[in-house]
Each structure stands twice: as structure tokens, then as C-alpha cells.
Amino acid sequence: MADSPRLSLHIPEPTRRPGEPPDFSAVRPPLAGGLDRPAVDVEASAIRDLAYGLIRVLDDDGKAVGAWDPHLEPETLRSGLRIMMTTRALDDRMVRAQRQGKITFYAKSAGEEAIAAGQALALRPDDMGFPTYRQQGLLIARGYPVAAMAHQVYSDRSDPMQGRQLPCLYSSRAHGFFTISGNLGTQFSQAVGWAMASALKGDDRIAAAWIGDGATAEADFYEALTFASIYRAPVILNIVNNQWAISSFQGLAGGEETTFAARAIGHGLPALRVDGNDFLAVYAVTAWAVERARSNLGATVIEHFTYRAEGHSTSDDPSRYRPAEEAKGWPLGDPILRLKTHLIALGEWSEEQHTALAAELDALVREAQRGAEAAGPLAQADPTVKAQAMFGDVYAETPWHLREQAKAMGEG
């Protein structure tokens, strides 16, 4: 006993900090096409290894290779590209608006656009999504007007959320897009409830949920896995491992010890780990999980291995905590560029088309922005509109005390 060593505590730290060169030596992406694609009705226990692999389809030359190649029509590929490029164009424009003091806040999904885009196309439009603030691409893919997004971000008189939500916290039941919470993680277990309801009603719609690497530490993540596995709910549980949670690297969420996909194993759920910057791979794993869920075989956990290419949000300055050049060094590249290269290699796209599309989308988001600015701030709307926006929808019917307060607000 006397000779027990003194204990010490391990505090995870990233290998590089500002001023140092980036270090991705721990990320050794395997060659594309190297992993088998099991049948969708495989036992979860038979594919535990996939939790430690990385499913990739696009190789370094932009060719689609291996068993996971989803063999998509060029039309679908171009749709995916368009969704991703729209997302990026909107993000860029809105961040500029924030820098100009026109809006209070914005969160981009730069570098991660393949996830929402690829998954949206593999899901059915009536499947319900439970997104985080980085799945704006899902809304775009499902045809929600970019103009309406700008109205929300501006909290303007046409904001469908009536000014009640922080920018980017969209909601659209009609587009299968669950109302985003400011609280991390809460939607993950709710999605399981939605999927359970669908199964209880003998419906054929499934649910998909997203969570960040950092937020996997929230209890809701665990409750989701527990309920999904026990009731075999038709849900896809996506972990978007973009390496960072504000200033915290993924080692602070457990990424030093094992993969995030491995969390599924303790619940007997199948786990797929995918190159999140590879549109084709994202599509392919999602299609596998969709088929499994829709065949009543239960939930799948997917870890999307990606990188948050910019700051956490407009409130953040990543140069304070990570090497300035880190984003550029990310070994899995840029998802838009990779899909573009693939399409061009297929002979289904050209630089000219690309430039033209970028210009078109730039015009689209400018137009959306103009619309938002023309609508004018909801905060300056007339008192009855404001009172409804402030006091409506707290309850199904507004009770006396809120009616009194609305009146008091009106009186100043």
C-alpha cells in the first residue's frame, strides 16, 4: 500500500495551439472504397468494426469507388451540389450582414455542407428531421424558401417564427424540420419519440436527428440511444464530429479514447463511420440506415467525420484557440470541391456551369437579403402585432395574466 504511486489527472489537450502549425497526423484517412457494405439486415454485433473504420467513396481523383458507391444519377449529384452551394452562399452573405451590424448572430456550416445535403437526398421528404443549427442545408434541400430563412435571421416583419427565435433556429413542420432549440442535444431524444410514434401508428415515415461531437456529452444523447435501442425505433442518429465544440477539441468529448460511432456498440446498435466531406459516402451510409429503419430493423448511429472550417458562430474567434491554418490542412478536403471534381470527372459538370451556378445563387441570397431588409424589423411593428408576437403561443389560449401583461406592455 505504502508504495502506491501518486495518482495524477489527465487533462485532454489538442496537439497544436495558435502560432503552431496544424497537426493532423492522428487523422489517417483510409483509401476510398476499402470497406464492405453489409446487408441492411445484418446483426449489429456482426459489424462492430465499422465503428472504427471510415467509409469513403470518392477517391483522390474524384472517382467513386467501392461497395459503398451509391451509383447516383448525375441529376442527383447536381442537386446535391446546388444544395451545398446554396447553403454556403447564404451563410457567407448572412455572416457579412452580421459583420455590418444588420443581424445579431449567425452560425455557418462551412465545410460540413455534404452532411445535410447528402442525407436530405437519401431521406424521404416526409421523414422528420431533428436538426442542430448546422443543418440549414436540410431546409434548403427540402425547398424551404431561402427568402424565408433570411426573414427569420433578420427577425423581420415576415419572420415565420415571429421574432421569437435567435437567427438560424428555424422550424418548419411542412418541410420535416423540427424547431431548433438553443439547448444542445434536446432534439436527439425527441427524435426517438417521434420515430416511436410513427412506429406505434403503423406509419412508414422515419426520423433523423443530428448532434455535434461536443453535445454528445449531454444526457439527451444517451437517452436517445437507450430508448432507440430498447424500442427499436426507426430513427437515424447522426453525430457530426466536426472536431470542435466552440473552443474545445473533440478529445474533450471522448475522441481521444475511441470513436464517437463506438457509442452505439454499448446499446447493440449498428454504427457507421463516414467521411463527412464525401457527399457520395454520406448519401450511401444514410441510404443504408434509411432502408434499415424503414424495414423495421431499428436505429443506426452514424458518425460524420468532418471539420468545422470556420468559427463556431459570429460570436467566436477560432484564431484564439486553434492554429490559423488548421482549416486549410484538413485532410478530407472541401465537400463542395470534391463533388464538383467528381461531376467534372464524370463529364457532367464544367467550370463554366459552376461559375454560373455560383453567380445565380449569389443573386438568390442577395435577393433574399433585400427582402428581409425591405420587410423591416419586427421590433418596429405596430403594438398589436408586437403583442401577438410576444404573448401569443405561450399557451393554446392566452390566459388572463398574459392578456393583462399584453395590455400593460401596450400602455408602456
Binding site: G193, L200, H401
Partner: protein, 337 residues
Amino acid sequence: MASMTMVQALNSAMDVMLGRDSDVLVFGEDVGYFGGVFRATEGLQKKYGVTRCFDTPIGEAGIVAVAVGMGAYGLRPVVEIQFADYIYPAYDQIVSEAARLRYRSAGDFIAPLTIRAPYGGGIFGGQTHSQSPEALFTHVAGLVTVIPSNPFDAKGLLISAIESDDPVIFLEPKRLYNGPFDGHHERPVTSWAGHPASEVPLEHYTVPLGSAAVARPGAAVTVLTYGSMVHVALAAALDSGIDAEIIDLRTLVPLDIGTITTSVEKTGRCVIVHEATRTSGFGAELSALVQEHCFYHLEAPIERVAGWDTPYPHAFEWDYFPGPARVAAALRRAMEA
């Protein structure tokens, strides 16, 4: 009509709603095959099948979260938290999610769930089987908080709660499950049989949310109370001979302010009684409201009788439980002031 205990009346409410509406479902820890540790869901799984009434893992956060998701789908989940003391792991899902879904989505998504939980003392349950956490919900905009005091109201209010499109926190005074306990623990246990409020229709009916009841009309002093304490207050009025008007609030939010102010304007005196710890309890809100609405009618300070500001200690059930003697003393003080 049948004579029912409160727990039978609650069971009947769920039975009726499961029968009427295929979107209603009931789940929670031990509520399925076993029928709940207090037997509130007894027989429901057998009658409606395992997909309408089932057991869950012991994860209150998960239970409420999946209920929120089901509500968003279009179902009307009724979940049981085994004891109100165990609701805190679900607090974030209740406060940040269920309560705000409609507001933040501008009506796009709603959370029409009912969260049932036995609450309160009187059963030697110690610190973690005796709590009265209602004030932790009344502070949260978007939640409806309901507490019945007898079988008839319990069934009618629970049906209203299930039919409501708002999330309802439905706290059940567990000490009243099997009889109208009035705090006289030294006397023989009474059962609901023979009590007028134990006559409960077998079929569907509602008691509206947001409406109080006058449990005893009186002229001398107004007592605002709910749950178990309604019976304690009735006993205190009897014991003290003070002609108290006892108001059973039934719904705490939204509150029936009209019934309250009418009574206090008449009596000019007010005593508030609850089991929950005093500081920042719902009694504080009641006191503030009465003072605001009836200041010029008040002839005596508003009194609060409440649980002490301590955890509920196992050995001292009857020193903690605000019994008829404490309430009667407050009635006397209010009359003498």
C-alpha cells in the same frame, strides 16, 4: 356513477381516454404490466395492449423527451414520473422544450403531453418520496400546473389535461389516493367511500382547467389551498370553529383569480396553505397576487402555512406536514389581527 378512490378515478380517466382517442398512450416506469407502484395504471396494458400502455427505462429525461417527440408527431402521451421527487432529471426537457415548443416554433409544433406525478408527504417517504415541487413549474411560462384534491376532480381534470394542447404538470397528492386524509394522523384512516366527491361517472366528463372550486363557503377568512391541504384546511375550520371560505385552486397556472378576489374582498382576510417549502413556494405568488388585487380590502396580514424550509425528514413526518393545528393557529391569527 361508481364510488371510486382517487387512484381509481385517475385510472378511469386514462381508461376513458385510451378508449376514446387512439392517439393517447400511457407510459413510464413500472406502469405497464405491473400497473404502477401506486396502481394508477392497473389493467390498462391488459385492456389496450403493450403499445398503448408500457414500461420505460428508468430515465426521466428520456421519458419526457420521447413524449415531446411523440407530441410533435401528433400523439397525446400521458407519462408517469414515479414520484414527483424524481422529475428533476427531466427538468430541462420540461422547461426548455415542452414549455416552449409552441412559442418558439410559432405554433408549428406543440407538446400536448400530460406529466403525472404523485407528490407530497404523509406516507413516511423521507426526503425523496414526499416533495411538493409545484412552484418549480408555476414559474415556467408555457406550463399548466394542476393538482386535484378528490376523485371527481381528479378524473375530470386529468381528462382535461390529456385533451389540452398545452403541456400539463399533473401532480397527484399521493396521501389522498386512498382516502381524504385531513392531517389528523392520530385518528383512524378514512376511506373515500361515502365521500360525495367519490361518486364518479364511469364515462367521459371534464373539470375545466383554470377554474377553482369553493370547498367550503364561509364568511370570516379566505383559505387558498390545493391538494391534500384542502382536507387539512377543512379540518382546521372545523377544529377552530372559524367560518373559513376554503378555496381549492385545482389549477395553479393559469390561476382562477376571479374566485380568489371575490372571496378575499368579502372576507378581508386570507390564509394560504401548502405542503411545499415556504420560501418561493406557490404561496408567495398567491400572497403577492392577493395583496395586489385586494390591498384595500385586507384587514389582516396574509398568512402562509407551509412546509418548513428543509428537506422532508423521514422521522418527523407530522412535525413537517402542515397539519390542522398549524392551519387552525393561522386562522386564529388572521381573525385576531
